[in-house]
Symmetry: C2
Subunit: 467 residues, 2 copies
């Protein structure tokens, strides 16, 4: 009896010292909505008081830009693993070999016949662009507003610089759709122009604002087209250039860029997780990308998403929930130069013993949350809608089929993972996107936090209830 | 026959010169959703291209603060009527006699025993506060976090300055609810303190941010309580002060304010309208308030609402709709000092020949639109929900019962008017509210415009379909 009493006393002591060793309380058990409601409330309350996502965001932005292959990206890998280590999560790195393009200098000027000097135009090299000769390229410009325009221009573009001046369509409510329409000139313009004999391309920045900040981004060279240099030009410079070219079609543009591609670099996806207590091999993945463009620290794209993933894990841990399934944050490398991090993650041998039941991505900035898009099996979406009532007190307005997924988590879809994307308000997202304006100051701590809360609640529900 | 042909030719000519004289086209006739869909699309498209609301907002903010009774408010009355005149609307002013309180100078400092000098605290007089004596008031402070705390403090507050340090509750998703809880100390704190013998009150600013900007606002003196001076203190200064008072309960605050109330001033509500073609006496009212606080130009509160009302009228006109009922914008004077403009409007003899079928108010800032709250008759709300499908392409997520109305349009409720309030995203609204931060730069042109579009579409639908 004495031994029994001593054991009971020891157990009590252990429970006081290590409350997480206690038997599962109803609050965190599967199958009770009550428990999840309380978990969600704990997550929301702690998140709104602490606004911890903004602390993660600030630390990440303080490291500077995180261009794929750069020293900044390497620092971000080290920092984010250390941050998750210090929070007590299980962490590791998964190797990704990445391209290493460097921007160098870029400048452009417009020379009008009969006017001395050159008028500077705000430009930035597009990612993966080849450089110009050191002295630059000088040629007349041909303005087009579409690929149809380019076809019509025919042989006129030979030896010229093609100026793609397609404005982002402000009449579309969905700014991502407007971006999708405008961005094809950035992506394909250089090769389309080169195939017709052009020597370079400059592309109006895809933003709905009129300002003097070029918005960069990757281009894709077609294998059979000559590789010509290409730059983004600010919307104000594009308007200015267009007006001058109407007056003086003989005006010439000089473009000088020293960007270049260096040798590949070893890098990594950063993984941190709370291991599931009952089905640890079943995984709910929260994803964002750690790399950014290099004109700013990429606060919205996608330091915000990374900060939300870290904060979501933290909030789940602090809610006391011991999730039945594993909740894992993956900060992917190299979204911007082709999403190789996402592909390598999905293809890794480590995945063979795992089953990703759901994956959600945050890569649309830090605006006030609206909802979750759910792709794949519509049945799954029906099940997720059941989580709406759980999410509504945290400000989520809807959980809808269509558009779920994202560049990084996309490769997991083939394995039957339910694909989700977190959608915040994106009316102002493209103001900042890929430009020098995507700074910490463009993010509101509470709006950012609300996204972390929404992701945490959704992840907790998925980990407890399955799908 | 010749006369008939001549008349027909003349009619054709008139139609070309004055297309608005043409017979009603199906596009604008009542009873066809098609027509309203096209009207809504026209409103949305033009709004998103022009972003005209921001031009109105900039012009209004350029006039400076519009404190009730001030020269700035008088300029705003003249400007907004002229703006509506130049757009071709029927306009007039309706007189309102208003209070004229002036802020003067305000300063506060903390003196800690044994430390030389005084540490400045960022304060702003509360609206309607009496001044301190010219040399200021100096006394020990008693910090309380609630009126219950004040009761407990009992006689300790006699001869002291009461420091109301109730932080806005960040855990509430509804920032207006959090504001409502915190603002009672600003509104009633001075009299509650004075009734217990305090000589002044300072009140923590109701904002969820930690910064050094005091947020002002009106106070209400109880008739039987001594009138003591009261000031808002920034949240950072409140935190600082609280920490110092814990260390040194004997620390003294000096408060010096030269605010005062001058003689009443004649002012006006500004009215502009598109007269209804079939039931001109039935009115759909769009309302906002023209006056602001004086620490900034009040861009969100409520120049944004005024700009949206003007832009909504412009967008409806430019859509070509000749509404069956009258659509009227009213820019109310003196919301901030007691909403007398709204009361005078409702009580005016002009109302006797009019029937306001619905009134909507925009006074929650310029965030991305979420929905419309509809008060009063739940049946009416049911009918309004039918407009949801019309509003959805313009980004409106819901039309809901509960919470419809507002300080300015409120007095119309007694006449059976269906009360509505436009709700944008308000997560960051109280960052700016009543402080020096409520500037043009805090408003996003597209988000502002989306509100104008939503109000225009809702007003057009109500004017065509009734309720």
């Amino acid at each position: 009896m004495k031994a029994v009493r001593r054991a009971a006393r020891l157990a009590s002591l252990l429970l006081i010292l290590f409350p997480s060793c206690s038997p599962r309380t109803p609050a965190s058990s599967a199958g009770t909505t009550d428990g999840l409601d309380r978990t969600a409330e704990s997550i929301r309350t702690r998140g709104l008081v602490d606004e911890g996502a903004f602390d993660f965001l600030r630390a990440l932005c303080d490291l500077g830009p995180r261009l794929t292959g750069s020293e900044g990206a390497a620092k971000a890998v080290a920092w984010s693993r250390a941050a998750m280590d210090s929070l007590g999560f299980e962490t590791w790195l998964e190797p990704v070999t990445v391209q290493h393009w460097v921007r160098g200098q870029a400048e452009a000027g417009l020379s009008v016949p009969g006017r001395p000097g050159s008028i500077p135009l705000a430009v930035a090299a597009l990612g993966l662009s080849v450089p110009t000769p050191p002295a630059g390229l000088t040629a007349q410009a041909v303005e087009v507003r579409s690929f149809e325009d380019l076809d019509r221009a025919g042989s006129r573009v030979r030896g010229r610089i093609v100026f793609f001046n397609a404005a982002m369509d402000r009449t579309l409510m969905d700014t991502f759709r407007a971006y999708g329409e405008a961005v094809q000139y950035r992506a394909r313009g250089a090769s389309e122009a080169a195939k017709r004999g052009a020597i370079a391309a400059i592309v109006r920045s895809p933003t709905g604002r009129l300002d003097d900040h070029p918005h960069t981004g990757i281009l894709t060279y077609e294998p059979d087209a000559p590789r010509v240099p290409a730059a983004a030009v600010s919307t104000l410079a594009a308007e200015f250039l267009s007006a001058r070219l109407r007056e003086n079609p003989e005006a010439e543009i000089t473009l000088r860029m020293s960007c270049r591609t260096l040798a590949d670099v070893p890098s990594a996806n950063v993984v941190g997780q709370i291991r599931g207590t009952e089905k640890p091999e079943e995984i709910v993945l929260l994803g964002a990308h750690l790399d950014s463009w290099d004109l700013s620290a990429g606060a919205n794209d996608d330091a915000a998403g990374c900060a939300q993933c870290l904060e979501a894990l933290r909030l789940i841990r602090d809610s006391g929930l011991k999730p039945r399934r594993t909740i894992r944050a993956v900060l992917f490398m190299n979204e911007e130069f082709g999403a190789s991090g996402g592909r390598d993650y999905a293809a890794s041998g480590r995945r063979s013993a795992e089953r990703h039941i759901a994956a959600m991505e945050s890569d649309r900035g830090a605006g006030t949350p609206l909802g979750f898009f759910v792709g794949g099996d519509p049945l799954a979406a029906g099940k997720l809608e059941a989580f709406e009532s759980l999410l509504r007190p945290s400000g989520i307005l809807w959980v809808r089929t269509g558009g779920g997924g994202g560049a990084d988590i996309g490769p997991l879809a083939a394995g039957g993972t339910v694909m989700m994307s977190f959608l915040p308000d994106v009316q102002r997202y493209f103001d900042f996107h890929h430009s020098a304006l995507d700074t910490l100051e463009s993010v509101h701590p509470r709006e950012l936090e609300l996204g972390a809360i929404a992701m945490a609640v959704m992840a907790a529900a998925l980990a407890e209830k399955g799908i």
